[in-house]
Amino acid sequence: MVDLEQYLPILIFLLIAGGLSAAFVFLPMGVARLTGTHNPSAEKLSEYECGFPAFEDPRSQFDVRFYLIAILFIIFDLEAAFLFPWAVSLDLTGWPGWITMMVFLFELAVGLAYAWKKGALEWE
């Protein structure tokens, strides 16, 4: 009698692989089926903008500068998120904790200096 239980790891591995590939193929189809225009008509397909006909194409490109600001915001937002737990536990971490955070802040400062010099902070 072969003990099939010993082959559980490879079964899980194959399930992950198969599941992922199946998800890549069938998930978009399923999502499109459930959310797409199943029974399109001219009325359904027309755009709606507060009762007016649409003024312009809603898929307008917008400036890459917004992304830059957003990315910089996230970095410094996360920095603040790190600073809070660091500040309240400083009595436990002591000097090593303080130095580590200063190294972290220094690295962020270098990054900020780079972004500043490259003009990422200038709107025009």
């Binding site: 010993q6 790891p9 490879i10 591995f13 198969g18 270098v110 780079y114 010099k117």
Partner: protein, 487 residues
């Protein structure tokens, strides 16, 4: 272990990150015209670290003296051996880049800085002694790699490669993190030593799931089948120096990382992960070989070739013995030499005006138009196929020998049989270069750096490489012993 000793052990990483930070500021203030100076400085830093690490590898460093920061970091001979390959491959990626990007004026000063940061990440990966160090190293490498893949911003293929790499890399990181959180949840620790102690008397269901998810995430990073789908597209789209980098350094780092997780954290449960590794190894060998046959782009072909090679490397891991890990390291070292050489040869395929050429059909008759290039490429192809007088054969030989000694005779036999399929497409390239009518499109000149790197890798893979076997084997044995000592 005090902090001074710990800081001494991470000296190479400190040098690399400080150099990276300084060069980042230089890049911002001096601009792109300083890019060659920055590349030189990066090479110098990598060289310094190479010699620093070479000392620990030659001494076969192991044991508690190599553990830094309370077990988070291991500067043992195993990590050192991998770092030597990583630093060498990163240096090669710096050396080949200026000629490629410079032609169209796209050599940015950030390129060497990104390579340096990726190298710091890879250094951390191979030295990780804790799941969190592992993850930080992996992400540090990956984030730089995503940017590098999309480095030619005006080229749609390069942007596509970057986006694809990012999406699938993020997915892989997610799978890895999921596995890590399961492992942490069921063992109560993130350190490899703690996990080893916790799984000593068998895996429970949750840890088993964690283990398999961690291996699935790592399989993405080493592009082992069935998680290889991104490799051909990313390798084709990324700029060729970046592809050369991807195929060498990060692959070494990810393989070394997977080995460390397997042996150090889950070494007592080798039967559980061995079947996953064996499946990935055989599938990679077969899919890598079959996928390469229909390719008409040389970069895609080399991508499949790297998938194929990962399969052979994983056979060494499947042994789960010191001999197997030593064979894996020897194979990796030879693989890096062959891969860097092949991609340098691809970089040297240029039209009269210097535009890069990537079609396999353009290689036709190269032996008559560019004999030196054709002979070097032929040697690299024969070596990748594992034809005996060349050094590639030695890598396959030690791996299969280790597999036979570990009682995995069936695995070794299937691997040897499947390596014949791979020989077909390698030798097809040689046939196209030597027996087809010349296409005569490859006429561009190459600079001395490319010729030098091609010559070095051709000498390493030539039968002269066998002079290295005793020395390489000794270093690899020392490295493997260090891994098993800690485990």
């Amino acid at each position: 272990m005090d902090f001074v000793a710990s800081l001494g052990l991470i000296l190479p990483e400190l040098i690399l990150s400080l150099t990276g930070l300084v060069l980042l500021l230089v890049a911002a203030w001096a601009g792109d015209k300083a890019s060659s100076a920055i590349s030189v400085a990066g090479c110098v830093a990598l060289g310094a670290c190479f010699f620093l690490v070479a000392r620990t590898v030659c001494a076969g460093a192991s044991g508690p003296d190599t553990v830094a920061f309370f077990g988070q970091f291991r500067a043992d001979a195993f990590a050192g051996f991998a770092k030597l390959m990583i630093y060498a491959a990163s240096g090669a990626a710096l050396v080949v880049a200026p000629a490629f990007f410079g032609r169209t004026g796209q050599m940015k000063a950030e390129y060497p800085v990104l390579i340096l940061f990726a190298t710091v990440g890879m250094s951390l990966m191979v030295s990780a002694g804790d799941l969190l160090t592992l993850y930080i190293g992996l992400e540090m490498n990956s984030l730089s790699a995503y940017v590098l893949a999309a480095f030619l911003r005006n080229d749609s293929r390069s942007s596509e490669a970057g986006l694809k790499y990012f999406v699938l890399g993020a997915l892989a990181s997610g799978i890895l993190l999921f596995g890590m959180s399961l492992t942490y949840g069921f063992t109560g620790t993130t350190s490899f030593e703690g996990i080893r102690a916790a799984v000593g008397d068998g895996l429970n269901g949750g840890t088993l799931f964690g283990l398999v998810f961690v291996f699935a995430g790592l399989a993405f990073k080493i592009s082992a089948v069935p998680f290889h789908m991104w490799t051909p597209d990313v390798y084709e789209g990324a700029p060729t120096p970046v592809t050369a980098f991807f195929a060498s350094a990060p692959k070494v780092a990810a393989v070394a990382l997977a080995t460390r997780v397997a042996i150090e954290a889950f070494g007592s449960q080798a039967d559980a992960w061995r079947q996953v590794v064996i499946f990935a190894a055989l599938a990679s060998i077969v899919v890598g070989a079959l996928g390469a046959i229909g390719q008409s782009n040389i970069k895609r072909l080399l991508a499949y070739s790297s998938i194929n090679n990962v399969g052979f490397i994983l056979i060494g891991l499947a042994c789960a013995t010191p001999k197997g890990v030593s064979a894996l390291l020897v194979y990796l070292a030879i693989y890096v030499a062959m891969t860097v050489g092949s991609f340098v040869a691809v970089l040297m395929m240029r039209a009269e005006d210097g535009t890069p050429i990537e079609g396999i059909a353009d290689l036709a008759g190269l032996s008559r138009t560019r004999p030196a290039l054709a002979w070097c490429l032929a040697m690299l192809m024969f070596s990748l196929a594992g034809i005996p007088p060349l050094f590639g054969f030695w890598g396959k030989f030690v791996v299969f020998q280790a597999a036979v000694q570990a009682n995995l005779v069936a695995l070794a036999a299937i691997g040897i049989a499947a390596s014949v399929i791979g020989a077909f497409y390698y030798i097809k390239i040689v046939k196209i270069m030597f027996f087809d009518e010349p296409a005569d499109t490859i006429r561009g000149k190459s600079d001395w750096a490319h010729w030098a790197l091609l010559a070095i890798s051709a000498i390493v893979v030539s039968p002269l490489g066998y002079l290295l076997t005793a020395w390489l084997g000794k270093l690899a044995d020392g490295a493997a012993a260090a891994l098993f000592l800690l485990a």
